[in-house]
Point group: none
DNA sequence: GCTTGTTTGGAATATATATTCCACTGTAAA
DNA sequence: TTTACAGTGGAATATATATTCCAAACAAGC
């Protein structure tokens, strides 16, 4: 019996991958990565794009007990339709029923909820961010002799993202990691002409506030990314970029903050074409 | 000359509607309301659904100067692909034109681009994630006596996000930080009953592969989060969660990976109500 | 009501497409 | 080195699909 649903097929594809021959693996790679192509192209075209012969494609379909490529393709077409008209909500319902607890909060419902909430918050990010402020922020990063990045606890992933990306843009940057609780020492030598990127969310960690204080006293610039434009430390900052991350069931996300960080870094990348990290980035781990 | 783009065709469809015969109008109604059907179904099926004969469909296509139904269908297929799989570059061009800053790449246009791309990739995350696999992943985390998190370089922010959140759920977890280049030692004592959450993206860092190898040899479970379900290491993993992050202008985002991490952690939180970290989380910095 | 021109549906045809078959290649075991 | 066998690509075939053609139905004008 061939798989009767796209999900079933996907599962078999990954389970039985190691058992496949070389060409069949190539097909498997292609179809998992380009399901839309399988749905829309003809067998010959799919075969060509996947770098194999058409008959190999049929063998592949037969391996998973389809009558031929066409049979398998039907599943892909159906999946595309479902995805298009947002039928994935049905999948959630089906799952809840199958586990016998309809009102239950499953991992999938949470994923769907978070996905949607994050999509919305990205929408507000686009709407509410002020272009002028954003440009000034990029100016600030561009001019800085050195960039220090301070964001702790929940904000730490954003810190690391900045550190990674700025390093790849060949900028002189230091993430304040808090390693050995030496965060104060890590920032002690900041000076005028340098920049602190501070990332802080309510209830605003004292340590981040201290960093802002230090940077301010030493005459350095400060770019503050925060959930509130008037949070403590905002007055001392050169530029404040407010960002409203989604909250679902009491959990706050980082999506918009990460997206903003991304946009800042890449705008910077486009300002210094000699260091455009396109290839660089592709070879990352 | 037949319309060369979907938009052109749409325009002609509405402009010339009054000139069409009764059946041709019916066809026109159907194709404007069900473009996906035109893209995915065969001529016979489309004709049937539209309530006309197949030859009428061909006449309809001929009316708009296509060689036949197939020619027209190509346009619909292409349109579907563009809309679906983030042909961002096309839409980016339209976006820049509409803002009137064609050649100029400003920080704001980049933010808008990334925002949109990430929104779409969150959509595909919801569509493409298999509910069963996701639930199994949460099971795995729940059962684990200890959780080790390994994801380096670009994946490191995700590692830190896991570490932060799992700690707040009072789980015994260790982020493999690579501090002092002791990453191998950090994982050396993993054992059966424990779990490695590995996060890796093309081109798949050797160090992460080594972690998977170690965990596997020691009989521990492995949850792999990757951009390819068949990437090296997938065969040794207990569960693989594939995630397709957006790519714009050669830069790849982390949004979907972060969102997936979030959903996993919070689903876990709901399984252990005694440790529900709602308040905990709100007091984070 | 008849004629003319247009529209329509069905059968026949043409074409595109998938599938099968077979000979060849490469690989592992004897 | 030889043998056996799974894997592969190309040509031949079968099938599905689209397209054309024609006769019938219909509508408008005479």
């Amino acid at each position: 019996m061939p798989p009767s649903s796209f999900d079933q097929l996907q599962k078999r594809l990954s389970d039985e991958y190691p058992l496949l021959s070389r060409r069949l693996k190539e097909v498997c790679d292609y179809v998992t990565q380009h399901p839309q192509s399988v749905a829309l192209d003809t067998a010959a075209v799919v075969a060509d794009k996947a770098g194999v012969h058409a008959s190999t494609l049929v063998r592949f379909a037969n391996y998973f007990e389809f009558s031929g490529f066409s049979g398998m393709q039907k599943l892909y077409k159906q999946h595309l339709l479902d995805a298009l008209q947002g039928n994935y909500n049905d999948r959630i319902a089906t799952l809840s029923k199958s586990t016998g607890q309809e009102g239950d909060i499953t991992a999938m419902t949470l994923l769907a909820e978070f996905g949607s909430a994050n999509q919305e918050s990205l929408g507000t990010l686009k709407e509410q961010t002020d272009p002028t402020t954003l440009t000034q922020a990029v100016d600030l990063i561009e001019r800085a002799a050195a960039i220090h990045i301070g964001g702790v606890r929940r904000a730490f992933p954003v810190t690391m993202y900045f550190a990674y990306t700025l390093a790849h843009l060949r900028r002189n940057c230091h993430a304040i990691s808090g390693l050995g609780l030496m965060h104060e020492d890590q920032l002690a030598n900041i000076r005028a002409g340098e920049l602190l990127i501070a990332i802080t969310f309510a209830p605003y960690a004292d340590s981040t506030q201290a960093m802002i204080e230090t940077a301010h006293n030493n005459g350095a610039d400060i770019l503050l990314i925060s959930d509130d434009a008037n949070c403590p430390g905002a007055a001392r900052s050169t530029i404040v970029l407010p960002v409203a991350d989604a909250e679902v069931r009491g959990f706050r996300s980082l999506t918009s903050s990460m997206c903003l960080a991304q946009a800042l870094c890449i705008a910077l990348g486009y300002r210094q074409p000699e260091a455009r990290p396109l290839d660089d980035n592709r070879t990352q781990h």
